[in-house]
Amino acid sequence: MIVFDVVLMVTLWVLAVGAVSQADLFKSVVLFVTMGVVVAVAWARLGAADLAMVEVAVGAGITGALFLNTLGHLEQRPGERGEGEDTSHL
């Protein structure tokens, strides 16, 4: 079991390092989602079943979807509306 713990945690750490150090943003988002899955497995291993469920649904699922949505937004050209400074609201 110890072997399992160690392997799990090493995978987790490698995924985390990969997520923040990849040049390709999409790749790091995928690594991030994967990391969420591994974290959920870790919660399950620690006997926190409800946490594992929330982590998969929220920590990996919704957060991952939000990140993907943002990437999609950033791949479009910057919008035409509201360019420049808005100094009237000091």
């Binding site: 790749k27 989602v33 959920a40 399950a44 649904a57 919704i62 993907l68 999609g72």
Partner: protein, 84 residues
């Protein structure tokens, strides 16, 4: 049990390789999906080993994760390929 664990480990490493190597976004996404399924399998194995059968529910949520990410991914590719 050992055989099952080894199989799960194998699919884990396959998923990791796909995610890391790419080459296209879809490959990586499929890798992440495989990772999710392997995660579900791991949780099931864990459930058997720890004899904590409430973990089966967790595996169900793992499976539904795939839907969420795929929808987000497809929406993103749709949007990126839209005419500007």
């Amino acid at each position: 049990m050992i055989v099952v664990a080894a199989l799960v480990l194998g699919s884990f490493s396959a998923a990791l390789i796909r995610i890391w190597r790419g080459p296209s976004g879809a490959d990586r996404m499929m890798g992440a999906q495989l990772f999710g399924s392997s995660g579900a399998a791991t949780v099931l194995v864990l459930a058997a080993m720890l004899e904590d059968w409430s973990l089966i529910d967790v595996a169900l949520v793992f499976a539904s994760l795939a839907a969420v990410t795929v929808v987000a991914f497809v929406e993103r590719t749709e949007r990126a390929s839209m005419p500007q």
